[in-house]
């Protein structure tokens, strides 16, 4: 580690009022292999700092603008500098980054508020928007999402009609390759997308999604509908709704859940600002830092699962003692998300803590695959043609049929044998050894 590097780092700390001077100068952290920028930690830091410097120059008019930006935003909401420090430390560890990245995460959050955004609302209930903008006591994640520089977002933008359209088209052209595209809601593809038309020109959602995603810097599908089709795509899916990744050939980062957790959205965006590319994704296109843990494994009620202590009815004794909700249909064993660690509602609760099982809303097709929500998975109907039964009912019916068949065959055999032996005994009346089977040898 050269001295010059240290000085650079120290200088950056002083520039940002929302960061503390770096006390720990041990730079020999082990670089998280999830991100693979470079093997050498110093090289990683250098590249991240260079990227942040460049973006700051682009996004802010002058030094004062840059330094006062977050302060202005947060002081409005009563978030103190200390709160913000705590939050940025939390986000750094949630992103599985070493602590040395904390001031850089803070700088990235600062830049994030000035990055051009296009936020598209497709076929859904806009629950994600609602969850972010209507929070009573927003955490820094929600505040940052409220102050991002949205150039186009139907629910909150001032322009309307042709002006709004013009705004979006202008952003796509002007900020080519730079703007962040967030898509919320499934995209109907039936009738060439005519099930969903948006704006003054009546363009289909399919067309808008394709156009805007072509030039985006990074594309985020937020919520289960945008990620996998969600409820609009539930069987029988009359509008042929699909997730965003099915209509564009660009890489899409899925942030599923219903609604998506703001921390996961901001964390992914912060990581994009830091390193300039998408975080590592799992096989379903979700960022590994947020979606690598299974709810069941991190649930605080897991001990009761192992102990065989289950809630059997709503409000029973087990429910009061916070026993496991497995028998009340908790789908935690089938769901990957970070609800149990990052939590919802201003980071204070999540379904199991509130006493209801998980419904698996961050998994594809959860409306079809996770139902019935309040019964164990073993009670779900199996999907076979002409069969309307659970696996146990159908299995037991087959078992009964097999048992009846066996009994019938046994009786048939006995009757037939008797009849035949009667015939033969009539034939060989003289044979005296007929029935002494046990006496031979």
């Amino acid at each position: 580690m050269g001295d010059g590097k240290k000085k650079d780092a120290a200088k950056n700390e002083n520039d940002n009022p929302f960061s503390t001077p770096e006390e720990d100068n041990n730079f020999n952290f082990k670089w998280d292999p999830l991100r693979n920028i470079a093997d050498d930690p110093n090289e990683v830091l250098k590249r991240v700092d260079e990227r942040l410097d460049g973006l700051e120059k682009e996004c802010f008019n002058n030094k004062k603008d840059k330094n006062n930006n977050l302060e202005n935003i947060f002081s409005l909401h009563g978030v103190t500098r200390r709160d913000f420090l705590k939050w940025s430390s939390f986000l750094t560890s949630a992103l599985m980054l070493p602590y040395i990245f904390r001031p850089r995460v803070a700088r990235a959050a600062n830049i994030l508020t000035r990055t051009p955004f296009i936020w598209l609302d497709m076929a859904d209930c806009m629950g994600n928007t609602e969850a972010f903008i209507r929070t009573a006591h927003p955490t820094p994640a929600e505040i940052i999402l409220n102050y991002v520089s949205v150039n186009y977002m139907e629910s909150i933008m001032a322009p309307a009609g042709y002006q709004a359209e013009a705004r979006r088209i202008e952003t796509v052209k002007k900020d080519k390759g730079k703007y962040i595209l967030v898509v919320e809601g499934a995209i109907p593809t039936g009738l060439n997308g005519k099930f969903l038309t948006i704006g003054a020109k009546g363009d289909s959602g399919l067309k808008i999604a394709k156009e805007t995603s072509k030039n985006a810097g990074i594309i985020i599908a937020i919520g289960n509908c945008a990620s996998y089709g969600g409820i609009p795509a539930a069987r029988p899916n009359p509008t042929s709704a699909v997730g965003l990744s099915s209509v564009t050939n660009r890489q899409v980062i899925n942030i599923p859940a219903c609604p998506a957790n703001p921390v996961n959205v901001v964390g992914t965006l912060v990581e994009y600002i830091l390193v300039g590319k998408a975080p590592q994704l799992d096989s379903l296109g979700r960022p590994l830092w947020a979606y690598s843990g299974r709810l069941h494994d991190n649930c605080y009620r897991r001990g009761h699962f192992e102990a065989g202590e289950y809630v059997r009815h709503w409000g029973d004794d087990g429910a009061k003692k916070q026993y496991c909700l497995y028998m009340m249909g908790c789908k935690g064993p089938f769901t990957w998300n970070n609800c149990t660690t990052v939590e919802y509602n201003q980071d204070i609760s999540f379904p199991m803590r509130a006493g209801h099982g998980c419904i698996g809303c961050s998994q594809p097709a959860f409306w079809d695959r996770m139902t019935p929500f309040e019964k164990p998975n073993a009670d779900a109907k199996i999907i076979l043609p002409m069969v309307e039964a659970t696996a146990d009912e159908f299995g037991m019916a087959l078992f009964g049929a097999a048992g009846a068949g066996i009994a019938a065959h046994a009786i048939y055999t006995g009757v037939k044998k008797k009849r035949e032996s009667k015939k033969t005994s009539e034939k060989k009346k003289s044979d005296s050894d007929k029935n002494d089977d046990n006496n031979d040898k």
Binding site: E306, G395, A410
Partner: protein, 254 residues
């Protein structure tokens, strides 16, 4: 005496199951029964251990007080035994696959060659089950009908292995105590089940339903072996105990 020998035909001993195969048969039996019982519990926990103040001990209600939460861990034990049974079944499946081709005594593939003839013989066996006439001749190899049904049974076991490993690997996060290759191997071999059966919930239901098919096989298997012992008088039921059965070339009524 002569009369009797004539009546029961020429009796000839035939060695069908070696010691190894008999051990495999009964370990398989115990492991499958174990996994059916523990699997039922995991799918639908029928006992509540650990008493809450409002509950009293009742076997009929399925409540047994085994003390504090940390002492009970009934689900942990059920899953533990399920996994132990699964490991035994996996090893047995692989040994079965090996023996099906390389057994010195009675490789299974001999019951399939030549294929057309053997299928025809299996058809005759089915016919025999319902007419009680024209029993196909007993040979020193397994009869083709049993060979086909046992193969199907082992394919069901393979399906249970694949779906079971998919559920097992779900709690892994990229690595394990023995290294990253182990979850990787399970993902590599079983991730297709997620696509085919519709996610982890579908895989679970397939695992549950296949169990019923296996139970039906067990009942069928016991019935046919008893039936054969009664009807053929060749001691088929003795095979998994002593390893031998008899061949009678001439039967009583024919």
């Amino acid at each position: 005496m002569e009369n009797k020998e004539k009546k029961y035909g020429d009796i000839q001993l035939v060695h069908r199951m070696t010691v190894i195969k008999r051990i495999i048969h009964w370990s398989f039996f115990l492991a499958v029964i174990n996994n059916i019982v523990t699997g039922f519990y995991i799918a639908y926990p029928f006992l509540i251990f650990g008493k809450t103040p409002a509950q009293s001990d009742s076997i009929s209600k399925g409540i047994i007080n085994s003390g504090e939460t940390y002492q009970a861990f009934i689900m942990t034990w059920m899953r533990e035994f399920h996994f132990i049974g699964a490991v035994i079944i996996d090893v047995i499946f692989i040994v079965w696959l090996y023996l099906a081709f390389f057994s010195w005594k009675e490789p299974l593939y001999k019951s399939f060659i030549p294929f057309g003839d053997k299928i025809a013989e299996a058809g005759r066996m089915v016919k025999h089950y319902f007419t009680l006439k024209d029993k196909p001749e007993t040979t020193r190899y397994q009869d083709p009908l049993n060979a086909i049904i046992f193969t199907i049974f082992h394919l069901l076991i393979l399906l249970q292995m694949v779906t079971g490993f998919q559920m097992y690997v779900a709690s892994f996060t990229g690595t394990s105590a023995v290294g990253g290759w182990w979850p990787w191997l399970m993902h590599f071999t079983t991730d297709w089940t997620l696509v085919v059966f519709g996610g982890l919930t579908g895989v679970t239901l397939v695992h549950l339903f296949t169990m019923w098919l296996i139970i039906i096989f067990i009942v069928y298997h016991i019935y046919t072996e008893v039936w054969r012992s009664v009807m053929w008088k060749e001691g088929d039921i003795l095979i998994p105990f002593g390893g031998y059965k008899y061949i009678r070339n001439k039967t009583e009524s024919e």
